[in-house]
């Protein structure tokens, strides 16, 4: 670390934090779009999600390279990068779910609950974004974490219902069934990943005290 970097301090860090916010915002947008396409059954809309995932990848690489170009104390860097990669994992899962949706419709009996899960996923992302902002400000994250846990539990409850109802569905062949199973798994797994990401925000919060 040379003196030049010291005096320009703050700019790189700001860039990183802003881009990280952009990253989560993009995730929220993708969740919103996915929810919308479930509601309207617009398969074309679902194709937007992979595009957004690609964009998110670009942002992620930018963040990581800025971090290792000298932003933040080396002590923090691995945790920051881990958080970004966790958000990226959410994106990947969302993309996989959307991809399945493009090729297969959701059975009528499951539709309502799937839409609910998609909405709750969206709410979780929004809360994740809020939690991220709070972490940056050094605020207490307890309430936000509780909110996220509540959402996650709700989705879990719906998941069991979905799995039960899924058993009543007739499928034409094994692959159809498998795809449906994957769709439900992915859809309900998104919330777990979001929770992982939020847990890591806690780590970041504590490590700087």
């Amino acid at each position: 670390m040379s003196f030049g970097k010291f005096f320009s301090r703050g700019r790189k860090e700001q860039q990183v934090t802003e881009r990280m916010a952009d990253h989560i915002d993009l995730l929220c947008e993708a969740c919103a779009i996915f929810h919308q396409c479930l509601v309207s059954e617009d398969r074309r809309l679902a194709r937007k999600v992979p595009d957004m995932e690609r964009e998110a990848d670009v942002i992620r690489r930018e963040i990581v390279s800025t971090i290792y170009a000298g932003a933040f104390l080396p002590y923090l860097r691995p945790d920051l990068c881990r958080f970004v990669s966790l958000v990226d994992e959410v994106f990947d899962l969302l993309q996989e779910t959307a991809n399945i949706f493009v090729y297969r419709t959701v059975p009528e009996s499951l539709k309502g609950e799937c839409i609910r899960v998609a909405l709750l996923n969206l709410r979780m992302c929004e809360l994740l974004r809020i939690t991220y902002g709070a972490m940056l400000e050094g605020a207490d994250l307890k309430e936000k974490k509780l909110g996220l846990r509540i959402y996650e539990k709700k989705i879990d409850d719906i998941k069991y219902g979905l799995l039960r109802d899924m058993m009543e569905i007739e499928v034409d062949n094994f692959w159809q069934g498998r795809l449906l199973g994957e769709f439900i798994d992915n859809l309900t797994g998104i919330s777990d990943k979001i929770e992982d990401a939020s847990d890591h925000l806690d780590v970041l919060n504590v490590s700087m005290r």
Binding site: M1, S2, F3, F6, R9, G10, E13, Q14, T17, F72, L73, P74, Y75, L76, M135, L136, E137, G138, A139, L204, S207, M208, R209
Partner: protein, 350 residues
């Protein structure tokens, strides 16, 4: 004048050894580049030595009345003790080595004044204790203050970074001001140098040690402050710096390594009391006894050796060499090669 050579050697080992206490964590965690760290260390050690270095010199001079040749041996003994301990990866404290060596020489010459020793040893004992207290207080105090004022992640990050730098510079300054007396203080006592000159030369030698050989010590485990988070590391260096600076005002050179140990424990008291181990305490205690003892013995051995060797040289070795024409041969060789070197340099345009 060649007699100050051993002091320079001692300063060099001190610089190489103790720099790790200052920017060790910063460098090993990648927070600050090695080059920046050593240049800052060198700069501020010089500053500390020049500005407040002379304060501690009197204390060492009071221990024994030494002649220049004895001063040479004393510094050499201390330096060798330090070097050996470093190689053996044992804690090496220059303050303790030099005091042991001075007393050793003093005992031999009959000029040792043990009454002064009590004050010095008391300060040695208080060094880790004081650092412990400071470490604990600073940790709580600074944490409280920061939680109240700076909460934003980016700002905290900046504060920690700046803090590590500032603490490090202060640490180097304190080291210079406190320990330069260990390095060249004996020559002031022996009347060879003025306090000011001794401070400058001592400071330079410490800076040189930091610049040339500190990397190895910094990179090895065992300095004890590496696994700390940035805030704790900052507090440890700050506590150590303040402790040393405090003892500079008292006028007694103390050990920066032991101050670090105390500071780490003080900071560790916040969480785990397990940072204090019997082994660690034994190590420190050994430092208080073992180092001065070995340095003292070595000083005695050197002085006796020199005393014995001087007539030997004058009566036997010297004339032998002359008769064999070896001294002449060396003289001629130096002249020849010197001339050759000069012509090469002229050719290169230097």
């Amino acid at each position: 004048m060649w007699k100050i050579g051993s002091g320079i050697f001692l300063g060099w080992t001190l610089g190489a050894n103790d720099s790790a206490n200052i920017f060790g964590t910063g460098v090993t965690t990648g927070t600050i580049r090695y080059r920046t760290a050593i240049w800052l260390t060198a700069l501020f050690v010089m500053a500390g030595a020049v500005v407040e270095g002379p304060k501690c010199m009197q204390t060492l001079g009071e221990l024994s009345r030494l002649i220049p040749l004895e001063a040479f041996c004393v510094a050499l003994a201390a330096g060798v003790t330090m070097a050996v301990l470093t190689v053996l990866a044992l804690p090496a404290s220059a303050s303790q080595a030099i005091v042991g060596a001075i007393l050793g020489a003093g005992v031999l010459a009959g000029t040792a004044d043990f009454s002064r020793l009590y004050r010095i040893v008391a300060c040695w004992v208080f060094t880790p204790i004081c650092a412990l207290a400071l470490g604990y207080l600073l940790y709580r105090g600074l944490a409280w203050m920061l939680d109240r004022t700076v909460r934003r992640l980016t700002y905290r990050n900046f504060i920690y970074l700046g803090g590590i730098l500032v603490a490090g510079c202060y640490g180097a300054y304190s080291l210079g001001s406190n320990n330069v007396a260990n390095v060249t203080g004996v020559y002031v006592g022996a009347g060879l140098l003025s306090a000011r000159t001794a401070a400058v030369i001592g400071g330079l030698s410490i800076a040189l040690g930091a610049l040339t050989y500190s990397r190895r010590v910094m990179m090895t485990v065992g300095k004890g402050i590496v696994p700390l988070d940035p805030f704790s590391a900052l507090v440890v260096v700050l506590a150590q710096a303040m402790t040393l600076h405090l003892f500079t005002q008292v006028g007694v050179p103390v050990s920066s390594s032991q101050a670090v140990v105390g500071a780490v424990v003080g900071v560790g008291l916040m969480g785990d009391v397990r940072t204090i181990s019997v082994r660690m305490l034994l190590k420190i205690a050994m430092g208080w006894i073992g180092t001065p003892l070995s340095a003292g013995l070595m000083a005695v051995a050197l002085i006796l050796g020199v005393d014995a060797a001087a007539p030997l040289w004058g009566q036997h070795v010297g004339p032998l060499l002359e008769r064999l024409g070896i001294t002449e041969a060396i003289f001629v060789a130096v002249q020849f090669y010197g001339g050759w070197l000069r012509s090469v340099m002229d050719a290169l345009g230097w």
